[in-house]
Symmetry: D2
Subunit: 337 residues, 4 copies
């Protein structure tokens, strides 16, 4: 994977990339614990003696068990709610091995790139964090601002509310036993954002953030600030009143979600990302093959019963990449003499 | 406004652009009826004898009462939940006249461009339609597929469900009387889509659609297909089973919302767009001025109590533009000999 | 015409735009003198009280005699060495009025945009200048660095060498009398460039500069520094030796043309742009019509016998736009804290 | 190296990529003969069973002796007419190993990508060829159209004129003995081009072609068709007369170089690319170190005395990539129903 456009002079700690890659790894959620693997990734270019040089940064992520799985059972049949059918129709040819382009393995690269972006925006005091806020119908009850996010990592589910978390885990275990899967929601928070990031019309901060989230496999929706629930409010309830405090200009409430007119206003940016249930289930389902004949398909191998715990670092990474882009873009807003 | 990249040879009916511009015009919803104004827009280039030439299409939309309003009251103060503050901070200078870049007048250009895009995609059998599905807490109860969308235009609110519509109108009238505003949801449907539009990874159909919608002023959220409610389902409930019918490959259900792996599967694409309540209210609100001193602000002139009826043609237009882009992009998927 | 991406806070003098537009105007070269017309252009957006706001800058250039010429004689026949044939074949339709997209009138917009870019880069001490260095076989004998460029504007031909200039004017008059046209070369100089502008691989300063020049109508070639004549030198003759002077790092010679590895090295950037003879001549020529039948064509109206004097402000403008882009791009090379 | 946007369904022969990589390899010119190495490159993605899938095509080129050279002598000193100084100043940091980003090794990737592009455009009957037309002051005397290009590969210098070639080789040997280097010109020809490729204004075929050529290391100039020598002609001499022949519309002459108004007219596209003498010479030269102190530098290892023979496949590759882009871009010119 290659990251282009990273400015020179940023100190990079490869350990931090490895940590996020481990957080994303399959087999981390619910049932297993994280193992540290030292050789998970390697930086091939763009970093010299620990500092970025301005050159493209190539990162190699070794895929130890690539192609070891058997995918021949999907070579000639379309899995329900997968992209087998649409890609075959679009291109007339499909490399089915490893799930091909539809595979969520691509998010490993995004997580690595995001780990770099985090180190860049951290230098400016910006943090990108996320947590699980819903699994099935079980929702975390607290507002985003009430959570202590450091707790989130100590929790198998990456949910900062212990009570909700237990119910969610129980639900996932039950669903898994049934050979089924379940959806969920990840909430993200970007804090420490300076005023002025984002562009006014075609490149609004929340529009790029939404596009980045909707690019993640299995995502069905995105909202920020008051979001979908904000439609129920009146203007007098929803408007965020400005006040001048000892710490600078603030808003009393934050229904705007830290963004006004596409541009950051210095308050926390918070948003939700909806993930559908994983399409691969262990139950037998009807489908058709590439010739249109009726067949059945059934998942094989180890698949996640619920993707949201592993999605947490992916969401964080995508948000960090968006913020890094806006930081650089904003540097051309004024002429530097 | 200039539309670049429109292919040559498409028949353009300027009347259809005018109709959509009128649908978007202020003063159409709830209280007034649409008037037809013949000279609303003019095509300056790119169309010759009614046919596109492949050259950029410049459309001039006359703004008859531009700058007639008095905006001096916002020159030195920040309206709550507007972009006055963020733009001033970002650029260090702000053209406050007419609301400046933050003004939703830009959507007139988008509607005109969208009306062109509609004519292009219509040639391929693709339709972009939208309707109001929620105002405040009042939701239309029917699924997207149960509506007769031609009815929507006969209705003041652009809501195809007469019963819900009456309640919504009553709510808007009440809110307006209070000098307040209310949010709502627009549901969009893109039908007649061929299989294969959209790109697999960074340019997924729904990611671009979401970005387009999130670019519209006052939008706080986007989802498609099962969307946020889909997170509550199990994989076995959510998966759309393929079947081979006399009319080609179909899915029994359409939780996927017509898109799988970022690429259209031939079923209807449907999606929701959440609009916050309009920020300009007729009530007095606290705020600060550009020097940080406490002031009050109050809306002047005629402002919409609820933006969603006028947002319907904007949503349709943005969706049509996205689809037009993907149609053209898809033409490079295979080599034409 | 709309210029996007101009940073906020730059003082704009509209007079300077007008001056360059007049320098480009038809009827300035050889036979007529420049007239000042006050209402040549109008800034519609992006400049507030004389200062850029960061919003797109729309400039309207009134075309007083647009479409007054009769172009019906080219509606169905292809002028030799014009783009009538290629555009008709490409699009299957062609708006022949005013020469359509092939018209060099588009360069008026580029000159206006360039006049803005000049004001931006001038703030950084960068100057974009050009002059006529060859007409037909008559070449200016001096090196770029030996000219006093302020003299160039006092000269009908925009050539800073009085002796060469006289011969060039005589040649153009002779060619004009024959109903013919003649080519020429414009030499450009960008001075005051800081070290570090340009990108190393795909966006080299000279590659973008070359592309910009090759985008100008009638241009057939571009070289910079030692250019085509540099191929005759040995490395030991061509290499520019660095030396550390009281004024900073310099090179003893400047065969590199101010650019090394695609990035400016602080020395003058100089380059040549080759213009073919104008294709429209007053002589009768054979050609074919749109159905392939043999016809003759002959130029009508007033056409330049030699385009290079008017091309001088166009070349300057394109160079200024390229430099403005690289200045802004370079601002993202390092992270601004 | 990753090639994005290649359409699906194109048959790829990896052998052809290898052949071009070998043509570009150091040590092929003048003194040595080409060796066939089977494992020169490997396709990692985007090609399935020999056919492109529409996915990005990653090609791995093994660099067997990477970093084996000693570059420590340039860590703290600036080589004359190299990019050491400009990159150090631009980024404040420089990875000097292997010459860093300034290294011409990047052209191996371009040649591989170009070999793919050639296979794509060959399917449409388009050929991209090049040959050496000048070394120092020794020019090939024939016009581009008089050469038999198959001969070019049998010749150590890739020059199709045996007589000129012998003189060029003698010159290079002499220069090499002196520890010096010499420049040269590569002429390229793109034949079999359909009418209509290229865009009219900002994306003219020759402007992109020029930009691509100017992106190659050591290139100082580009012209096409009549080029710089065309400025000496009159319009009546330069204009290419259309005629309708049994083989379709042709032009009697081809001063236009196959492009009119930025768009291909079906005739051969021919162009020249000027290469300066290689900057690394075996003679001692004055320079400065990174602290500004006076030092001397001298080339080490094996460096080309003249780059043009090896540049031939690079020029061909860049041209093929440009043509592949325009083929795809042109597919969106009209709407495919």
């Amino acid at each position: 994977m290659v990251i282009d456009g990273c400015p020179a002079g940023i100190t990079i700690d490869i350990e931090k990339i490895q940590v996020d890659l481990i957080r994303r790894k399959p087999g981390q959620s619910v049932l297993t614990t994280a193992r540290k693997e030292d050789d998970l990734c390697e930086i091939l270019s763009g970093v010299f003696e620990g500092i970025t040089t301005g050159a493209p940064i190539a990162i190699l992520i070794k895929n130890k068990d690539a192609r070891s799985h058997d995918y021949s059972h999907i070579a000639d049949r379309y899995r329900p709610s997968h992209a087998d059918y649409t890609y075959q129709e679009k291109y007339g040819i499909r490399d089915y091995r490893g799930g091909g382009r539809t595979s969520a393995r691509i998010t490993a690269g995004w997580v690595a790139a995001g780990a770099l972006a985090k180190q860049m925006i951290n230098q400016l005091g910006i943090q990108s964090k996320a947590y699980v806020s819903q699994v099935g119908k079980i929702q975390i009850s607290r507002a985003y601002s009430a959570n202590e996010l450091h707790i989130e990592e100590e929790n198998d589910l990456r949910c900062p509310d212990e009570a909700s978390s237990k119910k969610m885990i129980a639900l996932i275990k039950k669903v898994k036993k049934e050979g089924d899967t379940i959806g969920g929601i990840v909430t993200g928070i970007i804090s420490g954002v300076p005023v002025g990031l984002g562009e006014p019309v075609f490149n609004k901060l929340h529009a790029q953030l939404g596009m980045a989230m909707l690019s993640i496999n299995a995502v069905k929706g995105f909202d920020y600030g008051s979001g979908f629930s904000g439609v129920e409010l009146k203007g007098s309830e929803h408007n965020d009143i400005f006040e001048n405090t000892a710490h600078g200009v603030r808003t009393k409430t934050n229904h705007s979600g830290g963004i006004q007119g596409g541009v950051s206003n210095g308050q926390d940016i918070y948003y939700r990302v909806a993930f559908k249930p994983v399409a691969t289930i262990m139950k037998e389902q009807d489908s058709i093959d590439t010739k249109g004949a009726k067949v059945t398909v059934q998942g094989k191998g180890r698949h996640d019963p619920c993707v949201v715990p592993r999605a947490v670092p992916i969401v964080e990474a995508m948000a960090a990449l968006v913020m890094a882009d806006f930081v650089l873009l904003n540097q051309s807003t004024k002429l530097s003499l």
